[in-house]
Point group: C2
């Protein structure tokens, strides 16, 4: 700006006024200023700007692990839809690992964003209390924070799992296995709880040999299924706790030629679920809506909402497509 001011022969303040579209500059000088600005390839330094006007940076952060199939895109879609109305920029940063999550969050936070959406991995978020206290709103998505009180948007993991397993039970199954990721994730724990509750409600005592968690990859999930099928009393149905295990399980069933014999209901929907053979029955929730609600909540906070932190739970719904409607064959 100083440069421009010098060349045009006006004060920096006049340049600032023009650049920001403030009134109080004659059209003639404004014109000249804009011209020189263009000539010099001037771009306002928002670092300095935000430093001075100490309130909003117009950016919100979104921190999550880049990998969950489809989850990411849909969530961002919801968040950006809302942010767009607010002229806010969404900057996404990956929390590669639970350890790096910490660094990423602090790095973003020291950039003074207006607020942050977090899909947490880590085991302890109490270190974020300072940020909260200094007025940076935090909203947790898909999983709750640990050791920290903050707004949270969750899916009904427990209820969804119950629905899924109830559905299988209603089709005559009693030996239903569950395959999923590591149980230290909130979603996994809740889904496993729903699975057990559904069984118990039907008078079936959960058989822990049928609960195979900690399967983080397609391959691991597939092996788990293969093992189950080869066991002395194999399950007649599977409940898979996320789409990675759903896909791994499907592949394993196919390899075992059991795809039309063993029923399967998965948690999380995904593209192509209906193109598989048989099409996959899933329990799903609206991830775009989850992003939307989270962003909404965040902006409410940014706008000064001081009500106590709360938790929103999104409903799930069962989408029957075929794989979950396979009935038990002769016991």
């Amino acid at each position: 700006m100083k440069d421009i001011a010098g060349r045009v022969g006006v004060s920096v303040k006049s340049v600032s006024r023009v650049v920001n579209g403030e009134p109080g500059v004659s059209p003639a000088t404004a014109e000249r200023i804009l011209e020189v600005a263009r000539e010099l390839g001037f771009r306002r330094n928002d670092l300095a700007r935000n430093l001075r006007q100490r309130d909003r940076t117009g950016m919100i952060g979104l921190v999550l692990q880049h990998s969950s199939t489809r989850f990411y895109d849909q969530l961002v879609q919801g968040v950006e839809g809302v942010a767009e109305h607010r002229d806010a920029l969404v900057v996404t940063a990956g929390s590669r690992s639970p350890e790096r999550e910490h660094d990423t969050l602090l790095a973003l936070s020291s950039r003074r964003l207006d607020g942050m959406l977090i899909v947490p991995e880590g085991a302890d978020h109490s270190y974020l209390a300072a940020e909260q206290a200094s007025g940076v709103p935090l909203v947790f998505v898909d999983r709750p924070p640990r050791r920290l009180a903050a707004d949270t948007i969750l899916a009904d993991d427990h209820g969804g799992a119950r629905t899924a397993v109830d559905h299988l039970i209603r089709h005559g199954h009693r030996r239903i296995a569950m395959i999923g990721a590591a149980a230290d994730l909130h979603t996994v724990r809740e889904r496993a709880r729903g699975y057990r509750d559904a069984l118990r409600a039907a008078g079936i005592e959960p058989d822990e040999r049928l609960v195979l968690l900690g399967r983080e990859t397609r391959a691991a999930a597939g092996e788990a299924v293969a093992d189950l099928l080869a066991s002395s009393s194999p399950p007649t149905a599977l409940f898979t706790g996320n789409n990675v295990s759903t896909i791994g399980a499907t592949a394993a069933l196919r390899r075992a030629g059991a795809v039309r014999r063993v029923a399967l209901v998965g948690f999380d929907d995904f593209e192509l679920a209906e193109l598989l053979d048989p099409p996959l029955t899933v329990v799903a929730y609206d991830i775009v809506d989850m992003g939307r609600r989270a962003a909404q909540r965040l902006f409410d906070r940014i706008d000064g909402d001081r009500s106590p932190a709360g938790t929103d739970v999104l409903p799930t719904r069962l989408i029957p497509r075929g794989s979950g409607e396979i009935r038990v064959t002769a016991a």
Copy 2:
């Protein structure tokens, strides 16, 4: 910092030294400073920091459209892998539409990032020349910039398409249709060119009635295929220009019961391609590697590489899985 300095009774500079781990402060005072900092929930303001030390902000930008199935995750994976080594934070921002791309890029750029990776949508990037001139390195990914000279990482779209169509020709097909997105995208144009070149090289004059571009959604691609199959002289094979049209086409073939009769080779691989029936033959390139190379190039530039802008082209490879090996049935 002023606060801390006041409470501890030292100068701001001493606090600065401690916060940044610089030497020159006695352990005793350092201790006290850290303690008060913790107490106050202090977090260094990187806005001010970056403003002062005018060089690096330690952030690079990644601007793309959030939607391309899987593309995003893999690209980010590649980019972050490299950035991690450099202790750089990758901030991703969506360019919802070609128009908004402009705004997003300028918004990021006025935040003074160290460099930007761009998967371009827009039709004219000459407005970025000013950024380049002011020393912000730009690397374009997957598609070249328009009206701007900058480093670019591309896939061999033309060669990949030729390979795909050659493959179909080698299986006896002569009426091969192409379904794809809008031809104003560089990738689509190049793939269409490869398609035509492959046909001509085999002495087949391309039939423009078999080239259905501008199909941006699964549904649109599906309808295109349905129309083709219902026409008086339907194709015996399909070449689909991206995974959206591949999926749409597959669904349409299935609905028409033509899935084992009409051959299909798609551009872009995707999860589950091998779980479909028949498993899909595709031409693919390594997207993670693309992200890796782009980031590498960007950091080279950030480190001062001043060589002329160049273009890297990644090889593609054919992955035969079944759908592309269906031979022509009796003409």
